[in-house]
Amino acid sequence: MEERAKLITETGLRLFKERGYDQVTVLDICQACGMTKPTFYKYITSKENILVSMFKAKEENILPEVQKLKEEGKLLAALWKGLTCSHEVALEIGPDLMSKYLSYLLRYSIPSYRYQTSLQDLMVEILETLQEQGEITSLYSPKDLYYALGHMDQGTLLSWVTSSGSFNLQKGYENSVIAILNLKDPSKLQVEKEELN
């Protein structure tokens, strides 16, 4: 991300957290950054876009990251990484701002990075291999599993924001992944997951 855009994003996020999203105007962010409104709009198209750009940045990098883990033979880590692309930002911004972001996606019907993309192809391939290796014992097709896991992630995020983050997002989703895939050895996922951090 460019310097200026980064400054806007970071300042915006700080103000959102301090005062609450709805209380912060574009002008507030401009003043805090020491820039004019026209300069702001050269980098970011709207207030919502501050949140959107944070997720975009992650989504743009996800494909090579998953690819790399796959090539290293860390298939479960690759799977986890690809499924939970938005968790990192969600945890960073917190449930309140996350609910604004999810509402934004709904309001403007923004399709997910997950489906009908190269990421989907790669993830389905990974699921297929894990199934052949016997790590995944669910007999459903890799594509169905991918969609079920995707919807589960979105649903878990929704429950997480509307319960104001009352449960551990990553742990909650991990259980669902284990359940859907019927993993032969769930501890393997935990080990590979730990190595990611």
């Binding site: 709904l106 079920a148 919807h151 979105q154």
Partner: protein, 191 residues
Amino acid sequence: MERTAMSEKICDTAMQLFVKKGFYDISVNEICKAVGITKPTFYKYVRTKEDILYQYYSFNPAKMLPEWSSPENGNYWKSIVKGFSMCFSHYISLDTQLLSRLLISQISNNTLSFQSDPQWNEKMMELIEKAQMEKQILSGWEPCQILRMMKSYALGYCFFICTEGMEDHKTVLDTFTLLLSTVAQTSPEFM
């Protein structure tokens, strides 16, 4: 006019307008005009436009319980699917813009749930436990966890339909059921 009759009339008229012209483009004034009432009268029955959506989407699950909760030929999974599908079909019965709007307002007031009716949940849990005992559901997780996961999945699927658009209702419903069975690990012979 009787209280419930009037609020029903307002809701029905408003929903028709929403479907025809879109939720955001219909003002309270237009609804009043179509019903033939004044704004103060409107606000006597309805607080906000969103309330109309709530009212439409909230149906009485207790009334519908007998329709799905007694399993035929001991197939508990079928009953579970029916219970979920009835809610889901209702959500997708109108256009996705209205469902999106409903989700947005439920997100903002933290009331979002696929189905929060206690009776519905209790009955579901009972059916899941029986389906597990009969090896119709192969997942070994606790019934309450399976139910929670199925509801999370269902909510995520509603979100998906809102953002990606919807094919025909039948395809959407078939996919919904198929993926629901991946969550519970349904045995193929009972699907």
